[in-house]
Amino acid sequence: MIPALTPELILYATAIGLTTIGLAGVVLSVHLFRMVLSLVIAEAGVNLMLVLAGYRWDAVAPILTSLGEQPAMVDPVPQAMVLTAIVIGVGVQALAVSILIRIRQRYATLDRWEVAERMDADIAATAGTPRDVSQEAPLGERPLPPIPAKRVDPSGSES
């Protein structure tokens, strides 16, 4: 049976749909900036879901107007939490964007696989080890970078 079109159904569908689209974008997108935008959308969906947790269709806004008998109010606690989450979300966006700027300055690309490739090569070059080319083969023993490498020849015998 198809449920009737209630406001709660619409709002829950929107929240779940936004979260799903955002998470799918985070997982599937190739461009890193598109990934940040998908994170913004997933955040919006989660915020909507949290406010929806305290929602009643027959209630009024949680504002005290008189000290007498009060009508039913929606729950103000999730709203306060979401108020904090919105601001924290903008902070997370700013952090992600600054990391993107650093990545572009260093690797000159924002393609996900290309950045991973160059970062892997960079780490291998810094550690002085050959990099693993195969993604499927077992990793084997990969020496830990710089600290063991310095302990191998403490006498400075590398001429």
Partner: protein, 102 residues
């Protein structure tokens, strides 16, 4: 919730979902940022319908205004700011930094 509010919620929900899909599909990055801010704007209006006016005010100011501003400025910095197919170069400061790093 009255019937008119139900229809408003339905319209906003469709708008937000289609804008969210557009963020992932559209090619231009400025358009993607604009679609993300459309999602935030619809969310602010839904908060008004859900009797949360304070959250709606914060979402409209921070989510639509500040977040879009940050993302658009980052687009300039990342060199993805394309208008009519022409890429506007990032500002001289970041160009100098790239030369220094590379």
């Amino acid at each position: 919730m009255t019937t008119i509010e139900l229809w408003i919620a339905l319209t906003l929900a469709l708008m937000m979902l289609s804008a969210a899909v557009m963020v992932l599909l559209v090619k231009n990055h400025i358009a993607a940022v604009a679609a993300a801010s459309v999602v935030s704007l619809g969310l602010a209006l839904l908060f008004v319908l859900m009797r949360a006016p304070d959250v709606a005010m914060t979402e409209a100011a921070v989510g639509v205004g500040l977040s879009s501003l940050i993302l658009a400025l980052a687009l300039r910095r990342l060199g993805l700011w394309e208008v009519d197919g022409k890429t506007v170069k990032p500002n001289p400061l970041s160009l100098n930094r790239e030369k220094r790093d590379g």
